[in-house]
């Protein structure tokens, strides 16, 4: 038999950026612990819909922890209490029976609210557009194995590149800093020979883009690392700081 639990979801409802918002309680009724929290939101939404009420808006897509679309504060923690887990992977078995679950949007100056749990994270795209790539046109690339890359460098680059762009780091940081996000990309490309030609320009451009977007400076609280569903290490942020200092 499937295990059933009861929860009360306390969800932030806000019809639009310029309208006031407030918490609203939704009793779950008996639900299987095998459901994910987002599947419970689906269920609540179906009930709301049948009552002719507007369902809770939230972003999601892959539902398997890789697209970075989902994200909300659950009981004050980005993506909820389970470590290395995105919101879509948080299951009801990870929550206490009978409990109250408070769900609010990611909050940061640079993430303006759109509706309910949906926020605008396009600032992250603009940071990337400032330099988060190697400037190579299609065609004319040399044979792939011409430049061997030490395995440990490639592994470090991949670890840095695992960021899913969800914004949990920003939402958990008391300064709403995006430096772990920036650090991931800077660090990835700094580890690889292909990233060298633009190395200095990249870090300067990306850091100043983050400033322009209204993200705060890093205060070494390390909340970002704890909240990151991919466990991006603070080492990448440290490497970015070194890159930044030597580029200036």
């Amino acid at each position: 038999m499937e295990k059933l639990i009861h929860l009360t979801l306390r969800v932030w409802r806000q019809p639009g950026p310029d309208r006031p918002g407030r918490f609203h309680d939704y009793p779950s009724g008996p639900v299987a612990t095998s459901l994910s929290l987002l599947e419970l939101l689906d269920l609540v939404n179906e009930r709301l819909t049948l009552n002719g009420e507007e369902p809770i808006a939230f972003d999601h897509d892959c539902r398997e922890g890789i697209c970075g679309a989902c994200g909300a504060m659950v009981d004050g923690l980005a993506h909820g209490p389970k470590s290395e887990t995105t919101l879509c992977q948080l299951h009801l078995r990870d929550l206490a029976d009978g409990g109250l679950v408070v769900i609010e949007p990611f909050r940061a100056l640079a993430f303006p609210l759109i509706k309910d749990l949906v926020v605008d994270r396009s600032a992250l795209d603009r940071i990337m557009a400032a330099g988060g790539y190697v400037s190579v046109d299609t065609g004319g690339a040399p044979e792939a194995n011409v430049i061997p890359i030490p395995q440990s460098d490639a592994d470090q680059a991949l670890a840095a590149a695992s960021c899913i762009g969800c914004g949990a780091c920003v939402a958990s940081c008391p300064h709403a800093s995006a430096m772990l996000f920036v650090g991931g990309k800077v660090s990835q490309l700094a580890c690889l020979p292909q990233g060298q030609p633009e190395r200095a320009r990249r870090v300067l451009a990306m850091v100043s883009a983050a400033d322009r977007e209204g993200f705060g400076a890093c205060g070494n609280h390390r909340e970002c690392e704890a909240a990151c569903p991919k466990r991006l290490s603070l080492r990448h942020l440290a490497r970015m700081n070194r890159e930044y200092l030597s580029a200036r």
């Binding site: 049948l50 395995q151 690889l192």
Partner: protein
């Protein structure tokens, strides 16, 4: 009916692509800057195409559903990407990759396209490495390869279990670089809802901005659809939730042919559905079948825990039936066998699941060795199910995964409508009736980085600029139609949600038009579908309004298109009275009950043409010829 003309230059297979490029007219850089290309979709195919076209000097507008182009479904691909580098010196070659892809597609793909794909595969890897994509490497620093999906050579490149993510982030970087350069504009959270066609040439699009609800028209010299696959037709699938057929379906309704719609791959190793509220079926990489053994209890109704069931009371049905391949039989064979066991009531706890058991491999190789190979998969399984596969066998069941069918395209990836190009999973071109592992990423990137950028110029050089702009009447009437349809969806105010109706559609298709198909079942589905559509349009409930973010309205529009598309899929399946690729047709079996392909009658691409609401669609047959590989019946016994 016309015979579709793929426009393949006359030359020996290995020279066709070069011949095409050498004999096609060029468009000068100055002229490119005057042409606007509308690209829908930012997966591997769309991002690669949009970035490359902007590099070439075109003006490009890019549309996608998600808040960021980086979130397209390609991000979720795990396993890897094929290329014929032969780094392992194990006998691989362009010919062999071509051969395997044609054979894997069960001789229902177009030879010239597949050969070109194999030829371009190596340049993809070169380019992606140059972009700084951190592929997994050997100790010596050279690129690592693995064998995938039963291939006899190691030709799959990968970035641990995140290959799609890394490839997509590379293409996304290229896209943003062009956006920063000003030649390309991004339109995220925007849904294409209609295609504007005047005089058989595509003139532009009508889109809805998902936050403001604003319906807008965009004119262009060409439209590129790279909108991914439609496996979400079955409701539960391995695809991301936003996966849809809307862009393709709207194009179909405007005259683009839909080719082989019934070819949808069912992947054997997915997490089974638990209860009616589940939102998706997560894929477990099939690499697990290298070490995992698939079994069910021999006795129906055996409810003991796996560990309590002795060896001789277990049915290792794949090993039993296919001793040569065992657990490594192709996806379709495994899917079918699993479903058959469960239909007989032999599934675990009588339900729809079988075991994929690593216990023997752990005993033989030790847990650390198994964790080294599959660690992230085992963690994922545990996170999703709460069970630890090191102690408890995993439970799996097949799920809809990939659509080989899609809009018909010619050799230049243009549909029968002038100026409409279709890339990636959205077209039908390279995988025939079944797709090999690690070849979708290859195809999406070949289409986007290398093929379209070489075929678009020649088309535009011949066709000239599109003089019709978005103020033209056809744009206004199309916008009005889109708005009227959205209004209709909002007005019904019935008593069923779009999600609920989608589930019903999915189950109906899964039962009658899934892994195993029969004349009777398909006819039953055809009888039920119109009623379900009526129920939808008579009893749907979409709350809210159309003037802001309304996710229920988005879903309702997509389900409405799935309902129509489902009917075409069933019609296509009904007309193809052969077992082929990933589908078994009951009436077409060999003596020992294996699938039987019928080349005499069905060696063609079925390209369907819309003939109006309530009218039977027209069928164009593109004959398939095989000059380098002789079609043989597949046999795994």
């Amino acid at each position: 009916m016309t015979i579709p003309n793929a426009g393949i230059p006359n030359a020996p297979l290995p020279e066709i692509w070069a011949r095409f490029q050498e004999t096609s007219p060029l468009l000068s850089p100055a002229n490119r800057a005057k042409r606007t290309i509308l690209v829908v979709g930012t997966g591997l195919a769309g991002s690669a195409a949009a970035a490359t076209l902007a590099e070439q000097g075109y003006r490009v507008k890019v549309f996608c559903l998600q808040d960021s182009p980086r979130r397209a479904h390609s991000i979720a691909a795990q396993g890897g990407i094929n290329a014929a580098k032969n780094y392992k010196h194990d006998g691989d070659s362009i010919f062999r990759l071509f051969h395997d892809t044609i054979k894997g597609g069960d001789f229902r793909a177009r030879e010239a396209n597949v050969y070109r794909l194999a030829q371009l595969s190596n340049a993809i890897i070169d380019h992606c490495v140059a972009q700084g994509i951190p592929f997994t490497r050997e100790y010596g620093g050279y690129l690592a390869n693995r064998s995938f999906g039963g291939a006899q050579v190691s030709r799959t490149f990968y970035a641990q279990g995140q290959t799609g993510q890394q490839l997509l982030l590379g293409a996304y970087g290229a896209l943003l670089r062009q956006a920063a350069g000003g030649r390309l504009s991004l339109h995220p959270r925007t849904e294409m809802l209609d295609l504007v066609v005047v005089d058989n040439r595509v003139r532009g699009l009508v889109v809805r901005h998902l936050l403001s609800g604003q319906v807008e028209a965009h004119a262009g010299d060409a439209v590129v659809l790279a909108t991914g696959g439609y496996a979400n037709l079955y409701c539960l699938s391995t695809n991301a939730r936003s996966g849809n057929v809307t862009a393709l379906w709207r194009a179909y309704r405007r005259g683009a042919w839909f080719a082989n719609p019934c070819f949808v791959q069912i992947h054997p190793t997915c997490l089974p559905a638990q209860g009616g509220q589940q939102s998706k079926l997560t894929l477990m990489s099939e690499s697990l079948r290298n070490d995992g053994r698939v079994w069910v209890p021999k006795a129906a109704g055996d409810r003991r825990r796996a560990a309590a069931i002795p060896e001789d009371e277990r049915d290792y049905f794949l090993e039993e039936r296919y001793p040569a391949f065992g657990n490594l039989v192709p996806r379709d064979v495994a899917s079918r066998q699993i479903k058959e066991r469960c239909d007989l009531g032999l599934g675990i706890d009588g339900g729809r699941a079988v075991y994929l058991d690593l216990a023997d491999a752990i005993r033989a190789q030790g847990l650390p060795a198994i964790r080294r190979k599959y660690g992230n998969l085992l963690d994922m399984y545990q996170r999703l199910t709460g069970d630890d596969p090191a102690h408890e066998p995993m439970r799996i069941y097949p799920a809809a995964h990939y659509s080989m069918g899609g809009l018909w395209v010619d050799y230049s990836l243009m549909s029968n409508l002038s100026g409409l190009f279709v890339l990636g999973e959205a077209n039908f071109s390279d995988h025939g009736a079944n797709r090999l592992g690690a070849s979708a990423l290859m195809q999406g990137l070949a289409d986007g980085y290398f093929i379209l950028p070489n075929t678009l110029g020649p088309y535009l050089a011949k066709a000239g600029p599109n003089p019709i702009d978005a103020r033209h009447d056809s744009f206004r009437s199309s916008r009005e139609e889109v708005e009227a349809r959205l209004g209709r969806l909002l007005k019904i105010k019935g008593s069923r949600t779009a999600a609920d109706l989608h589930r019903e559609l999915g189950l109906l298709l899964w039962d009658h038009c899934g892994i195993v198909r029969s004349e009777a079942g398909l006819r039953a589905a055809l009888a039920k579908l119109p009623r379900l559509r009526e129920e939808f349009w008579g009893n749907l409930m979409v709350p809210g309004a159309g003037a802001d973010l309304n996710q229920s309205l988005e879903l309702a529009g997509r389900v409405a298109d799935f309902l129509e598309c489902g009917e075409l899929v069933v019609q296509d399946a009904l007309h193809r009275r052969e077992s082929c690729g990933c589908h078994l047709r009951e009436e077409s079996r060999t003596e020992d009950h294996e699938p039987r392909r019928r080349d005499e009658e069905y060696a063609y691409v079925a390209a369907w043409e819309y003939r109006g609401q309530g009218q039977a669609p027209g069928l164009h047959r593109e004959p398939l010829a095989f000059t380098l590989v002789a079609p043989g019946q597949r046999s795994y016994r």
